[in-house]
Symmetry: C2
Subunit: 413 residues, 2 copies
């Protein structure tokens, strides 16, 4: 994929909306990746959609590897299903968006999808031979947050990757849970967050002692975690006590307090949902048993926001290579026809090589402004073509966030 | 992409839900492509999501070719924007779903996206130099239909491709409008609906004499159109009168009445939305003018439903090649270890060649049931591997909807 910047309908902006206080949203709005519809509700513009799709495809790739099968469930939710698990009442779940059909029937907008997925699995799971199964989607969730904050990291409408595991027993769940952990580690590594992201022990809720969060260190984080950097483990402040430290073999003295952003979480739900919703199977011993479940979430938008929070400088965003909207930002300073033709040729050659390239071919923008835009947008590799470089039949290559410039022959590109 | 059927979590079903009267939903539910959440609300299961993505990618391909830039807008809608165009009131637009933020602010769920997109374009369009621009998305719409019917063809929540054009003047709009028509013709052709789909003159609303619908002939259609099969043109019953026939150079005697499904539509909106929302630009002559718009819709779900309505037989669905969830259905009747190993090898070789293959490797299912499932699912090319074919180091190839079987050497595959 490739794009001439003269054609791109977005432009960089000097200012973000005055009510936008978070750095991730400020930078993403100024660079033209997102548009703020209202507090906590953001549209993805072409550059933003490209980054989001890259995150989604990394997630798909890693989740397919561990046996995930992708579906796409609906936002509109039948209340009868949610009453069975006691999650319909606004006193129990305080972030529902609800609406009504024309005939007056109340329906909800899904904030998660255990209930409808268990209902689906009920059509297909009868015997132990039908298990295990792993089902996921990348689908938009609605959460009626009292106050939306942190830019695109805590929003009222957002894409979520939610994976659910269905096993015969806890051994099967435990085994898959560890595989999911590995998949998550790979995902965050590929998103450029590997070194900053810690597996963090958190509350397990009613059915498990612990759940695990994936927390990325950042001053923009809403969570406080205690990190053992040597062991690459952390504990969420909410559950930090002597018993927990003892369980995990951690010492208070080794822990450092850090602010962090929860980029993913994994839970053992066991039979919490399968029992009330009647998802049972006949085991090898002829006995009927409830299916044992786990749930595994990642918010791709939150990953995108986190990446912007941790990779930026005073000039703009610095995308990790695998997430950048384009691999190369080709910036042309050519004005004369023969030079422009040369620059166009380089653009076409990069395309032919399968390089994703954004081509700043704008003829009415000064060099300084082009470089400022390029810094703000944050594509890691910049190739500059100008009358000066073309004299040497060369281009300049500069990496974002690095001042070194190297001259490379056009033919070597 | 490839999948072992023993791993696929869906199974074919003998019966669709009793309240499901439409053939497309019956077949798609029985074959495991979709799940009915409630009337007019369907989840895409793995096979269904694959078909939908194929339709979406055909659309993307053709719309990108005519200069479309993809975005992803939000469902939650700010009522202030819609009040400016007088489309907030339920008396004006009777299919809104509305909900409330925690602070009591009413918000809508988008049934279309002119208003928010024009607001976005307001940030980027100032001069004639910023035009033309073409922006689209494939995004879920909500429409509070009084009665959902026709299976996945008229639903309350559905994906829609909506493209909007922004031009300096009507000449520019007219030129792009013709390009969009061509793109639509290509899209429906690639979806297998080319021969059955007619450009149909329909009401243009307040701003244009006509709009154009793309209508696919089918007994399941809700629309009545009058078709001139030679000229490959049609007129919607709603606008059929002598003046219209005269305008279009059509004769009543040449027209045949047909039922049809509206799979796409294109409108010239001109300044209907840009004026009330203040989307203006300074033209070359220094004068401020409203941007001239067009809107172009396709429902990928409706395309999928239409394809099922027109391509099926008593045994199930017959997918056009470019939409099939997998290119090949490899059906193994092998039981003995050495034969199963051979079948596995064929499966792996097909994968290596980049063929998308669904592999019916189920060991506990009889041949007759496998063929019935394969017919129901409707993948166009079936490859059968059995002890009998392996004796001749061959496989049998059979096309869905065709009784001929040809024997092909394993090495030729």
């Amino acid at each position: 994929m490739f794009m001439r910047q003269s054609q791109l309908f977005t432009k960089t902006r000097k200012e973000a909306p005055a009510d936008e206080v978070s750095k991730n949203a400020q930078l993403l709005i100024r660079a033209g990746f997102i548009h703020k519809e209202m507090a906590g509700v953001y549209t993805l513009l072409p550059l933003g959609l490209r980054v989001m799709e890259k995150i989604n495809n990394i997630i798909r790739d890693e989740i397919n590897k561990i046996g995930g099968q992708e579906v796409f469930m609906t936002s509109l939710q039948d209340k009868n299903l949610w009453k069975k698990t006691d999650r319909w009442d606004d006193k129990v779940v305080d972030n529902w968006f609800k609406t009504k059909l024309k005939n007056g029937t109340e329906v909800g907008l899904g904030f998660t999808h255990e209930e409808p997925l268990v209902a689906i699995m009920n059509n297909y799971v009868n015997s132990y031979k039908d298990l295990p199964k792993y089902v996921y989607q990348i689908q938009n969730k609605f959460r009626n947050e009292k106050r939306a904050k942190s830019g695109i990291m805590r929003t009222r409408e957002f894409l979520m990757k939610d994976l659910y595991s269905f096993n015969r027993d806890e051994d099967g769940l435990d085994e898959f849970y560890e595989k999911a952990k590995e998949a998550y580690i790979n995902i965050f590594k590929r998103c450029g967050l590997g070194d900053l992201t810690y597996i963090t022990f958190a509350s397990g809720g009613t059915f498990s002692k612990y759940s695990h969060e994936f927390q990325t260190l950042s001053d923009a984080g809403e969570d406080i975690i205690y990190v053992d950097k040597k062991k690459k483990l952390a504990v969420n402040k909410e559950v930090l006590n002597d018993e927990v430290l003892n369980d995990l073999g951690l010492k208070r003295g080794d822990l450092v307090e850090e602010k962090a952003i929860e980029v993913g979480n994994i839970f053992k739900q066991k039979t919490k949902f399968s029992e009330p919703l009647g998802l049972k199977f006949v085991d090898e011993d002829g006995k009927e048993k409830p299916v044992v479940m786990g749930a595994y979430g990642i918010g791709p938008g939150r990953v995108m926001g986190t990446v912007v929070e941790v990779y930026n400088d005073k000039n703009g965003i610095i995308w990790p290579a695998e997430l950048a909207p384009y691999q190369v930002h080709l910036v042309s300073l050519c004005k004369e026809e023969k030079d422009v033709a040369k620059a166009d040729e380089i653009y076409e050659n990069l395309q032919k090589q399968g390089v994703e390239v954004l081509y700043d071919d704008r003829s009415d923008v000064r060099a300084g402004e082009k470089f400022a835009d390029s810094d703000l947008i944050g594509i890691p590799k910049r190739i500059i073509v100008s009358p000066k470089t073309l004299e040497k039949n060369s281009v300049e290559i500069k990496m974002r966030g690095d001042d070194n410039i190297s001259l490379v022959g056009v033919n070597e590109l």
